[in-house]
């Protein structure tokens, strides 16, 4: 036994896996070349990507920025392939603001950054750390944009005073008050004129609410609601204008009025999109609830509305807004075209929203409704505390899809002669300087829309993760 051969008395160290199984090679073997079919498909895919990039990249990078017309571009390029980005530089302001007067362009910018301030406490509360850094960046960008458009000092102060508290969780709650007021602020900033009209329109709500609180103990819930609505409408119709004129006489709070005909470009799309989104969600919730209601009239109105709107293309509704209404309304009636379109877009997306939310309601187990009833909650409390939070959470992907669709649908207004970015692209291409330019404009517009839609889609994913309660 002495001729004992070698015996290993320890374990061999683990060898690293073969180079073909790990790292980049391993990943490629597994994902790209795992069989002859996949290998062929990969090679074809690479060839297609290469062809597309090699054709587009030189054109893209060889772009000319400092040309003032297409013929100038072609002169500079001397027959080489290259994009003519000069059109974006030349018409950037127009693509963003339409015909909004140049010296007033800080107002849409301020309205836009304040919009983000107004929705931030709703969208992100509490703010995660990464978001806080992003928010700091946003504040800097906002200040820079205001500077670019020559905003007055007061605009900076208002922006900072509202944007800084968003960092702090408790302070951000206070900003919610501003969020509720924001639609009125936006109207005043965008259209200008005397602030007192906006303030007295707002007072209508306050007066209605006060009337309700005063009357409720005396004449009961239903009657006090009816009376307070009538009081508010009465205020709007008969007292708003004199009150505003009177106050404007005492303390003038004026911005140069801008007519809606001047609105255009991205600004128009964002305005239509935001009002559509803000208006359609609550309206959609009520329609969805109405459709499930046991009350015959409520139910049939909801069903009728939803099915009618969903049965009609948006373009038809836009044509109704722009042309038919003109014929039905008495001549001389000034019913703002942008407002008409806003109402149509909101109604249109509300119908879709209602169905998305109804899907969420239907997905809730029956037990949730029964549990809410068993707790002794009345209908509205049950909806608010038990049903809706769950139904809305389920519907998030659908809701955001509807929002994205709505935002993209705003480009349809170019068909009725409103100049959004696509409409402006047409008008720009009709000038002698830029006649014949195609790709640059449309690529730019696509890029801008992509930024908006992609952020919305990322936000919805963040929200889903945040509200995730499963295990």
């Amino acid at each position: 036994m002495s001729e004992q051969s070698y015996v290993r008395d320890e374990m061999l160290p683990e060898l690293p896996p073969p180079a073909t199984e790990v790292g980049i090679i391993g990943w490629m073997r597994e994902n790209l070349f795992s069989g002859w079919l996949n290998t062929i498909l990969t090679l074809i895919g690479i060839a297609i990507v290469y062809m597309a990039v090699s054709a587009a990249l030189p054109w893209f990078l060889n772009g000319v920025w400092n040309a003032n017309s297409l013929s100038e571009c072609r002169e500079i390029l001397q027959g080489k392939s290259g994009a003519c980005w000069g059109v974006i530089r030349d018409r950037f302001n127009q693509l963003m603001f339409g015909f909004y007067p140049h010296e007033e362009q800080w107002r849409p910018v301020l309205a836009f950054v304040l919009l983000l301030v107004a929705i931030a406490p709703i969208l992100f509360n509490p703010m995660p750390l990464g978001m806080k850094i992003g928010w700091g960046g946003f504040i800097l960008v906002g200040l820079w944009l205001l500077r670019l458009t020559g905003a007055p000092t007061l605009a900076y102060l208002v922006f900072l005073a509202l944007a800084l508290p968003v960092f702090h969780e408790k302070m951000a709650r206070k900003i919610l008050f501003f969020s509720a007021l924001f639609p009125f602020v936006m109207v005043w900033l965008m259209w200008g004129g005397s602030a007192w009209y906006v303030i007295s329109a707002l007072l209508g709500f306050v007066i209605g609410y006060l009337a309700f609180r005063l009357l409720e103990p005396i004449i009961g819930f239903l009657f006090s609601i009816i009376v307070s609505v009538l009081v508010a409408i009465g205020w709007w119709f008969f007292l708003t204008a004199p009150f505003a004129a009177w106050m404007a006489g005492i303390i003038p709070l004026e911005l140069t009025p801008v007519e809606s005909r001047k609105f255009g470009g991205l600004m128009l799309s964002v305005m239509l999109g935001v009002t559509g989104i803000v208006g359609s969600l609550p309206l959609g919730i009520f329609l969805a609830l109405g459709r499930q209601s046991d009350l015959l009239i409520v139910k049939s109105i909801s069903v009728g509305f939803i099915e009618f709107i969903r049965g009609v293309p948006l373009i038809t509704l836009l044509f109704v807004a722009s042309t038919l209404l003109n014929i039905f309304l008495p001549p001389g009636t000034e019913f703002d075209i942008i407002l008409r379109v806003m109402i149509m877009v909101t109604l249109f997306s509300a119908a879709y929203m209602a169905e998305v939310i109804r899907g969420g309601l239907a997905a809730l187990p029956r037990g949730q409704y029964e549990a809410a009833d068993a707790l002794g909650l009345d209908y509205w409390k049950a909806q608010r505390l038990v049903i809706m939070p769950q139904a809305l959470k389920i519907s998030i992907p659908g809701i955001v899809s509807t929002f994205i669709g709505l935002f993209k649908d705003t480009t349809l207004v170019s068909i009725i002669g409103l100049l959004d970015m696509l409409g402006l692209a047409n008008a720009i291409r009709a000038t002698t300087a830029w006649n014949g330019i195609i790709w640059e404009l449309y690529l730019f517009i696509a890029f801008v829309f992509w930024i908006f839609c992609f952020s919305m889609s990322r936000y919805s994913m963040y929200l889903e993760r945040k509200l995730q309660t499963g295990h």
Binding site: S260, L329, T333, G417, T432, G436
Partner: protein, 338 residues
């Protein structure tokens, strides 16, 4: 306007006090602004520049009318209209006049109840094809795919032309002129058809214009002119004679350069009547004596407008052709100012 912004739908019922009875002229004067319907963008005829100021041949007519009525060529609200919305915009009163490359036809004049006040451009429908197609006449286009703008007279003319010549074609319907250009260049259709002025403008914008030819056949008459609503004769007269003033000014040699000189009084009584130093033509229109002076001073006479926007020195490079003064063998002719 403020009120309508806030109470929109509600206000509709309350503000239903609009009156159609008042004349357009009074409306425009009260408003202090002329609402002029223009194209959403047509090369040389109407397009906004980088500062949002509208420019073009049709826009020039709007500016002349605004100058005549309000004394300010910038007191205009340009309302961009598409081929589909233009007539409702005019009929509903959203615009006071339409200067939007609109062909004067029987049905539009009679059935749609509009009033064409004159012709500011004589156009005709033509065809453009790539040279490589090897076609030299429109009669050889049997079986071609043709890009055609929907809702325009060109669509109908095309059908008539092909039926009359016993040929078939495949239409590719498109919405705007700009889109037509792109479809044609991308090869979506063999032939692009629209008014000859549009074809020339489109061809001028190509990187290699020499690769495309405009076929010699002009298959239709397209008299383009400004129009107003039926039933308001005073307003119609005003727009008509503003256009005629521009035309007569060219004929009589009144230009934006020498108009101040001529306005002091000349030996030619017609010039004097136009410029208001003799008689009171403006008073008959409900305007002051200087109305035509302002209209011509704004953008120059008809010939100046033509040269500045679509003439041979512009990239579009249209020759006067049919649109020369009658004295020079064209069709542009204004009735006398008397």
């Amino acid at each position: 306007m403020k009120k309508t912004v806030f109470f929109g739908a509600l206000a509709v019922a309350g503000m239903a006090a609009g009156v159609a009875a008042a004349g357009t002229l009074d409306d425009v004067k009260a408003r202090g602004k002329l609402n002029c319907g223009v194209s959403t963008g047509l090369v040389g005829f109407a397009a906004p520049d980088a500062n949002g100021n509208w420019e073009g041949f049709d826009v020039g007519v709007c500016r002349a009318v605004a100058a005549a009525v309000l004394g300010d060529p910038t007191a205009i609200e340009f309302v961009p209209t598409t081929g589909k919305t233009r007539f409702t915009a005019l009929a509903s009163g959203e615009v006071d006049m339409l200067a939007r490359n609109t062909t004067w036809t029987f049905t539009r004049d009679v059935d749609l109840k509009f009033e064409f006040v004159g012709i500011n451009y004589y156009d005709g429908q033509g065809f453009m094809v790539p040279k490589s197609l090897g076609v030299t006449s429109a009669k050889e286009l049997d079986g071609a795919t043709i890009c055609i703008q929907t809702g325009t007279t060109t669509e109908l003319n095309l059908a008539d032309f092909f039926r009359a010549n016993n040929m078939t074609y495949e239409p590719v319907p498109i919405e705007t002129n700009a889109e037509a250009q792109q479809q044609y260049l991308a090869g979506a259709c063999d032939v692009l058809t629209t008014d000859a002025s549009g074809l020339a403008a489109t061809r001028a914008s190509f990187e290699n214009p020499q690769d495309h030819i405009i076929l010699p056949e002009i298959i239709s008459k397209e008299p383009l002119g400004p129009l107003v609503r039926h039933g308001d004769q005073q307003w119609g007269d005003l727009v008509r004679w503003t256009l005629n003033a521009l035309i007569s000014a060219e004929e009589l040699g009144i230009t934006s350069a020498n108009i101040d000189e001529l306005a002091k009084g000349t030996k030619n009584p017609e010039i004097n009547r136009i410029l208001g130093t003799e008689g009171d033509l403006g008073g008959m229109l409900g305007l002051d004596k200087q109305w035509a002076y302002r209209a011509i001073k704004t953008g120059g006479n008809y010939g100046e407008l033509f040269e500045k926007n679509i003439g041979e020195n512009t990239p579009i490079g249209l020759a006067r052709g049919l649109n020369a003064q009658w004295k020079d063998g064209g069709l542009i002719y204004s009735p006398p100012f008397r």
